[in-house]
Symmetry: C2
Subunit: 198 residues, 2 copies
DNA sequence: GACAATTGTTACACAGTATAACAAAAAGGA
DNA sequence: TCCTTTTTGTTATACTGTGTAACAATTGTC
């Protein structure tokens, strides 16, 4: 299998092949069920030899993971920026920014929610987001609180992804500004209130 | 394919075969990855002929769906009972009942969360639970509310399933009574508060 | 231009799905 | 109990998709 060094040092043929395979997979997932896509179908679409796929990836899942990992890291950055904003008045703006980012990378998120095989990736995304929220919740917790911060963090992370999924399925309406407000009220304020009070 | 009348009128051989196949699938999923289970492996385990599987089901997914549908209906009943309880003081007890039911049907829920192919079933479960919660939220909504009840219902349904999944992964601790309290504070009270206030 | 790395072509072994035809066993009614 | 119907088992076969091997052709790099 060809080396996978820094993208700069990589052989241009390898870069090209992998890019073409990623693009072909994205196109195929958006037009049909992921489970029904075969490697032969992918390589035909990408116009590369069948065996070439195996020279770069062990499975379609691995290729899918490479495609999704790309964008999920960026989402996490947005959420981290948001979480560090202790200025509550700015939270709505930051919430809006999340949904504007999703709007921009629409295809990527459509794939994340569409294909069942992305479940593993969703789980790791949830874990990363949950860790961020967990840190935000920790200082608010009272000594004998009923709600463990681990549960609160997980709750917020999954709720956010669910809200994003709902939004995408509803053709991205209402607009990001409105979604930012919903996000703040339903997930941030509600959860923080529950942790602080219970 | 043999007829699928009321379970009473069904041929005893058909009832037996399908029961054995269901049991074998449950056993296999609990001990290995669902995606790696082949039909031949299933029929070997069930000690029936390979072709017999196709005389009853079109795919492993269909069999899995039959297994899960069985128990998810009952869960919904518990949640409906809970939602109709307007007496807030009793909500904790009802929340406890949900987690006691899950404790009882542990294997079923482990399978629901373990296998990616159960995603479709999870979605339909979420839809059903969301509809129940949506009705609970509707009367609380103010005229120009920021949060649509559809989002609130979806949020509560997914949060509940996430809480259940977290609980199962944590070996079902804390106990159901404690989980009932967390459920009430984090999901019911927090969401209702957000809908009524925002 | 020479060498190394990557890609393409062809062939093949293998596992899993799905079906057909016929034999064996079990259920149910007279 | 005998007879008929239905279900299950056995064997064979076609088909699709995965994964690898050997070697030729192409492309990148020094």
């Amino acid at each position: 299998m060809p080396k996978k060094n820094t993208p700069v040092k990589m052989d241009p043929r390898v870069r090209r092949t992998r890019r073409i395979l990623r693009e072909a997979l994205v196109a195929l997932i958006l037009e049909k069920d992921y489970a029904s896509i075969s490697i032969r179908e992918l390589t035909d679409r990408a116009e590369v030899a069948y065996i070439t796929f195996f020279r770069h990836y062990e499975s379609l899942d691995q290729l899918l993971m490479e495609v999704l990992d790309e964008g999920m890291g960026e989402l996490l950055v947005h959420i981290e920026v948001l979480a560090k904003q202790s200025d509550t008045s700015r939270l709505e703006t930051e919430g809006r920014l999340i949904f504007e980012y999703i709007q921009q990378k629409g295809d990527l998120f459509r794939i994340l929610f569409k294909s069942q095989s992305a479940a593993r990736i969703r789980k790791s995304v949830v874990r990363n987001i949950a860790a961020v929220f967990q840190n935000s919740c920790a200082p608010l917790q009272r000594p004998n609180s009923q709600i463990p911060v681990k549960i609160a963090g997980n709750h917020m992370a999954i709720s956010l992804l669910a809200l994003i999924e709902w939004w995408i399925e509803n053709r991205m309406s209402p607009p990001p500004s409105q979604m930012g407000k919903i996000y703040k009220a339903l997930i941030i304020d509600a959860t923080i209130g529950a942790v602080a009070l219970a």
